[in-house]
């Protein structure tokens, strides 16, 4: 267990800046998940922590020690790769003991470590097989086992589950969560998958184009995104954004006019300073915040319905063509093409300024 501290970390590949100044504190034992769109630099950042990629500038500390120029094998980290990266010419047992052999760990100590890891992961019956003879889930378990035996202070995972099918992914996700609980090791985990991020993380780091957009606990990011990017990125289906104009503000509420909805006016409660009257804003409403007793009223036409059994996602349009996604409990009563008055909870709606920053 160790903490990880990144101070103004930067990375360029030649003239291209990929990581543009990242500051991040990861406390010991924490499960941190990096999310962000493809190409935003998640893997690069993780590989810099691992020591597989040079750090252009900034300081990386693991367990208090500066690790910028330390060899990957001496950083106390272990990494699990997306493609598993098992040595194809070695058996499971050899794969798992390989690193220890090179670290000149005594033979009986290696055996003890490997056996205990294989027990934790249920690999006992597979130890003499080659990776080719394993299923995807088993390979992933071996890859995790291989990193456990090294008893790292920090585990690094780069999209470890993205090559697995949906069912296995759920299963392995639970297993990784259990592993984290049992070992208590710090984990840094990269994923595309929102559900993985929301369910596994103690702390989510949202990256965009080499910059941290927001850091926080999963529900905190969900409830209180700092900008439209995070608001749109976390949550599925995406949050709805409506262009609006501030019409008036009183003590605690901001009245926003929505041109896309026949200039309907909704009153959004705010805690902080009010935006200037007349300024352009963006109103964010999550699909599940549409509710029968909400105060905001929008008139819509339903395009399409997705019945998931318990709830229904209605994809609808305003008179001017603005798209809206609504989650509703009584989707069975609705029909495509139907006119429909949707109400949403104004107290759960979020307001963003023109640049996308949240107005509190």
């Amino acid at each position: 267990m160790a903490d990880v501290k990144l101070t103004d970390i930067r990375k360029s590949f030649g003239p291209v800046d990929v990581i543009k100044g990242v500051d991040l504190d990861i406390t010991a034992g924490e499960f941190v998940v990096f999310v962000g769109p493809s190409g935003c630099g998640k893997s690069t950042l993780l590989r810099m922590i691992a020591g597989l990629e040079d750090i252009t500038s900034g300081e990386l500390r693991i367990g208090g020690e500066v690790m910028n120029d330390i060899d990957p094998s001496k950083r106390g980290i272990a990494m699990v790769f997306q493609s598993y990266a098992l040595y194809p010419h070695m058996t499971v047992r050899e794969n798992m003991s390989f690193a220890l052999k090179y670290a000149k760990v005594p033979k009986d100590e290696i055996d003890r470590q490997v056996n205990s890891a294989s027990k934790i992961l249920g690999l006992e019956s597979l130890m003499e097989r080659k990776p080719k003879a394993l299923s995807g889930g088993q390979r992933q378990r071996v890859a995790i086992g291989r990193s456990i035996v090294r008893q790292p202070k920090v585990f690094l995972f780069d999209e470890p589950l993205s090559n697995l099918d949906a069912e296995l992914r759920v299963h392995m996700r639970i297993e990784i969560a259990r592993l984290h609980r049992e070992l208590g090791t710090t984990i840094v985990y990269v994923t595309h998958d929102q559900v993985e991020a929301m369910t596994l993380a103690d702390k989510i780091v949202v990256l965009r184009a080499g910059i941290i957009e927001q850091v926080g606990a999963p529900l905190e990011l969900y409830d209180n995104p700092a900008n439209t990017f995070v608001a749109g990125f976390i949550g599925s289906p995406r949050m709805n954004f409506f262009d609006g104009r501030v019409k008036a503000c009183d003590g605690s509420r901001c009245h926003v006019e929505l041109p896309a909805f026949d200039n309907a006016v909704v009153a959004i409660p705010l805690k902080g300073s009010m935006p200037a009257v007349g300024s352009d804003v963006s109103l964010g409403v999550r699909p599940e915040h549409f509710h029968d007793d909400g105060e905001g009223l929008l008139s819509l036409t339903i395009d399409m319905l997705e019945h998931l059994g318990g709830e229904t996602f209605a994809y609808a349009r305003s008179a001017t063509g603005a798209m809206v996604v609504i989650e509703t409990k009584h989707g069975r009563d609705l029909q495509s093409g139907q006119q429909f008055d949707a109400r949403f909870r104004t107290d759960a709606a979020l307001l963003f300024d023109k640049a996308g920053k949240r107005i509190y």
Binding site: R47, A50, G51, L52, D71, P72, S73, K74, I77, A78, M79, F81, Q82, S83, A85, L86, Y87, P88, H89, F98, A99, Y102, A103, K132, R150
Partner: protein, 272 residues
């Protein structure tokens, strides 16, 4: 009847294939037959097995120390292949794995060097080896082949299929660069090595011109040189020549059949 054109097409295909098979196999069969016949029978064009094989072999042994010559060829081919594979695969691996500003330039220069005909290299190479004072040794035959642009090219192409995450994993596991190469890359790419080995071994074994130029001592000569000297004598004994040729062909056949599966696999790409 609508299948008639199809039948004719098939028939043509088969006739063509049989013809090609015959063309490529006939010299081989003829060589085997010739090896068992006397010189007179061979020159008369006899196309059936005779009984003179052991006589021919005895005559060959009188002319040459067959064991020594075989050993010379084997030494050059095996030692040469080993070093060619080692050096050229390291180069190919390096070219693909390590980034550098000059990498592509150097690589292109290397590929361009494949276009220089060997005839143009012979004299400078000869002078070079003379300066190094290794003429008339097996080293002189082996050295020029060790860095083969073609094999480097082949290994660089194959290395593209080598998963970079495997290298990362090995680095995290604490292996040094040379250990990654030796203990991860080489075993993973073994079918690539097998395919390259066949190519390199055959080239080295069949090499004629260069050994002819640099080897002068009789006890260093290779089997290809021996065969050629048999043919250039005043009255060549074709039975003996055929025996020598059979002997010369055997090892390449053996190597090929022993490694055929890996060869095909290596040609298709080794990492599955």
């Amino acid at each position: 009847m609508k299948n008639l054109p199809e039948t004719i097409r098939m028939a043509c295909t088969y006739v063509f294939l049989v013809l090609m098979a015959f063309l490529s196999l006939f010299p081989f069969v003829w060589m085997m037959i010739g090896a068992t016949n006397t010189n007179t029978d061979v020159t008369k064009g006899k196309i059936s097995f005779g009984s003179a094989f052991f006589d021919n072999f005895a005559k060959l042994s009188e002319l040459f120390d067959v064991g020594q010559i075989f050993l010379n060829s084997a030494k050059i081919a095996i030692v040469g292949s080993f070093f060619t594979l080692l050096i050229s695969s390291m180069a190919g691996y390096g070219f693909e794995i390590f980034r550098s500003a000059l990498r592509e330039r150097v690589y292109q220069a290397l590929l361009l060097s494949m276009m220089v005909p060997f005839a143009a290299l012979m004299i400078p190479l000869f002078t070079l080896l003379a300066t190094a004072d290794v003429l008339d040794t097996h080293m002189a035959v082996i050295l020029p082949a060790v860095a083969s642009a073609y094999i480097i090219f082949y290994f660089r192409q194959s290395t593209k299929a080598f998963p970079s995450e495997l290298r990362d994993a090995a680095r995290v596991d604490g292996l040094k660069e040379w250990q990654i190469f030796l203990f991860v890359y080489v075993p993973v790419m073994r079918s690539t090595y097998a395919a390259a080995f066949i190519i390199v071994f055959m080239t080295a074994w069949n090499n004629f011109l260069w050994p002819l130029i640099v080897l002068q001592s009789n006890e260093l000569k290779t089997i290809t040189l021996a065969i050629s000297s048999l043919g250039s004598s005043y009255s060549p004994d074709f039975g003996v020549i055929m025996v020598a040729t059979v002997l010369a062909t055997l090892p390449t056949l053996l190597v090929f059949f022993a490694m055929q599966r890996q060869f095909v696999q290596g040609m298709l790409g080794s990492v599955k």
